[in-house]
């Protein structure tokens, strides 16, 4: 139990830091970066829940993000619904996408799932450009109504969403769900021999991951008050994976830390903004060679190791 207490204290400390930050540095630009970082953290956590736990990498997570974002945009801009509808609707549409791609591919062994997700996200990106009459093409859909008038309120709402998502995913990951998902990672055949319906759990995990990512996508569209095809981009999917790597795969909270760190880093180090993906790639290579368990999770564990 002492381990758990340390983790809780750490989490609360980080939460307080995040909550206080925009009050200390009073700048719209800064709170904007914070908001985006927090949304990235939601996405990273959702990726980790499925792919981090089961080991079945998803290279097209942006598919769910984009699904959520565009759904929110459509509901608000074309159907004139309040932006609040976007959140559950975005999650639902993302879940539908996850079934379309996940159902045929997760049954199979081999890299089909990873490839199919990558292909699906890219194809969706192309489709938004092709059917520009409906989706606004390259410019996307601008002029969405925000959830809150104040940017600060939006930030706190996103932060609350992150807490909610993290708690939910952590709870599932620590429960027998998590045990089964990690066993799937260990050895799928042995899992079946233990009487577990492996395909069901994989698809269910993917659906949960998609729902959270889709809701995050809707949040993002809301914060930007617009949506563009970039929301399906491969670079987004890959960025998330790198964030999870930095955080520590399979821990859920590690990726949250990794995402916030990596999202804020280039902005804080002035001039690096454009070189962001390069920085990420180099960091990734470094981690792959020298620290495969990530940076955030191992660091925290080392800092809070029991004194011998």
């Amino acid at each position: 139990m002492r381990r758990l207490n340390k983790d809780v204290v750490g989490a609360v400390a980080v939460l307080v830091l995040l909550a206080m930050a925009p009050l200390v540095v009073r700048s719209d630009y800064f709170s904007g970066i914070l908001t985006v970082s927090v949304i990235y953290a939601i996405w990273a956590a959702s990726w980790d829940f499925m792919s981090g736990l089961t080991g079945r990498e998803n290279f097209g997570h942006a598919l769910f993000i984009g699904a959520g974002a565009y759904t929110a945009a459509f509901l608000n801009s074309k159907l004139d619904l309040s932006p609040w509808w976007g959140l559950p609707a975005g999650a639902l549409v993302a879940v539908a996408f996850s079934l379309v791609v996940g159902f045929p591919t997760l049954r199979l062994r081999g890299p089909y799932f990873a490839l199919a997700m990558l292909a699906a996200a890219t194809i969706m990106q192309r489709l938004t450009r092709i059917f520009w009459q409906y989706t606004g093409g390259e410019e996307g859909i601008p002029g969405l109504d925000p959830l809150f008038e104040s940017h600060l309120a939006t930030y706190y709402f996103c932060l609350a969403a992150l807490v909610l998502a993290s708690v939910l995913l952590l709870f599932l990951a620590r429960s027998s769900w998590g045990t089964i998902l990690r066993a799937i990672r260990g050895d799928e055949a042995a899992c079946q021999a233990a009487g577990i319906n492996v395909t069901f759990y994989k698809i269910a995990a993917l659906m949960i991951s998609a729902a959270v990512a889709g809701a995050g996508g809707a949040l993002y569209a809301d914060y930007q008050e617009a949506v563009t095809p970039d929301v399906f981009a491969v670079s987004l999917s890959i960025t998330l994976i790198i964030m999870v790597y930095v955080g520590g795969m399979g821990t859920i909270w590690g990726p949250v830390g990794g995402a916030i760190l990596l999202a804020m880093l280039p902005e804080l180090l002035r001039g690096l903004g454009e070189y962001r993906l390069w920085v990420y790639s180099v960091v990734l290579i470094f981690i792959l060679f020298y620290s495969p368990g990530g940076l955030v999770a191992p660091l925290w564990r080392w800092l809070t190791r029991p004194s011998s």
Binding site: S176, T179, I180, R182, A183, R185, G186, D187, A189, A190, C191, Q192, A193, A194, G195, I196, N197, V198
Partner: protein, 247 residues
């Protein structure tokens, strides 16, 4: 009385190779039976067919009277038919207790009470209780074997299929494992089917032996008879493996 397991005319080919040919036998509840045969006789393939990991080309398998055709492995397990693998397949990166817990999470036994408590009890049964928190990645092979059995036991099977449980064990580990199997048979009333390809211990464990060679059943009978059976002897002479040496 319906046999617990009824195998009739099961056949499987891989391209031109017939791995299992027209295999038929029946197991009564409470028996310990062995499947004997040299390498390549089709024994593991037969296990894969019985447990749903491979589909039969022909033939019927019935468990408690119910045909198992086309059922996926996890459904078969939840009917009460569990197996271990020839090469131990633990869930790496997880502890011994967690490994056993996975079996306790099968729908068949899911709601029978605290998962941790049941898993702990199973570990006590197989003698791994003191290593509950150890990561399986550092376990010695003999313990991995026991864990394989624990995980299968956790699903509360009626029939347990053990695939070469003694393979890779040192001579001092074979005795205890054999005793464990005997204990499980006696305490749990488990019906057990064991594959081995040569072992003195095995022959003393089982009541009845099904001998296979080249995918076919060549003889069925008590161990003492099988050892002297002309076709069984012939299957072992002319091979580079040592004969049974049990006369």
């Amino acid at each position: 009385m319906t046999a617990l397991l009824d195998v009739a005319g099961v056949t499987k080919r891989f391209g031109g190779l017939v791995a299992v040919k027209d295999v038929s036998f029946a197991l009564e509840a409470g028996e310990i039976t062995g499947i004997l045969g040299p390498n390549g006789a089709g024994k593991t393939t037969l296990f894969n067919l019985l447990t749903g990991f491979m589909a039969t080309d022909r033939g019927i398998v019935r468990f408690e009277g119910r045909a198992l055709a086309d059922l996926p492995p996890h459904r078969i397990v939840n009917l009460g038919l569990a197996r271990t693998f020839q090469l131990c397949r633990p869930f790496r990166g997880m502890s011994v207790l967690e490994n056993a817990s996975v079996g306790c999470l099968a729908p068949r036994v899911r709601h029978e009470g605290s998962v941790t408590a049941r898993a702990q009890r199973i570990l006590e049964q197989v003698g791994l209780a003191d290593k509950a928190a150890t990561l399986v990645d550092v376990l010695p092979y003999g313990d991995l074997r026991r864990l394989e059995i624990a995980r299968a036991l956790a699903t509360r099977p009626k029939l347990l299929l053990l695939d070469e449980p003694f393979a890779g064990l040192g001579s001092n580990e074979i005795g205890p494992l054999s005793a464990l199997i005997r204990k499980l048979h006696a305490e749990e009333g488990l019906t057990i089917l064991i594959i081995e390809h040569k072992l003195r211990e095995f022959m003393q464990l089982v009541r009845r032996v099904i001998a296979m060679d080249f995918g076919e059943v060549i003889a069925i009978g008590p161990p003492q008879e099988i050892v002297r059976h002309p076709r069984v002897v012939e299957a072992y002479i002319g091979r580079t493996e040592a004969p049974l040496g049990l006369a």
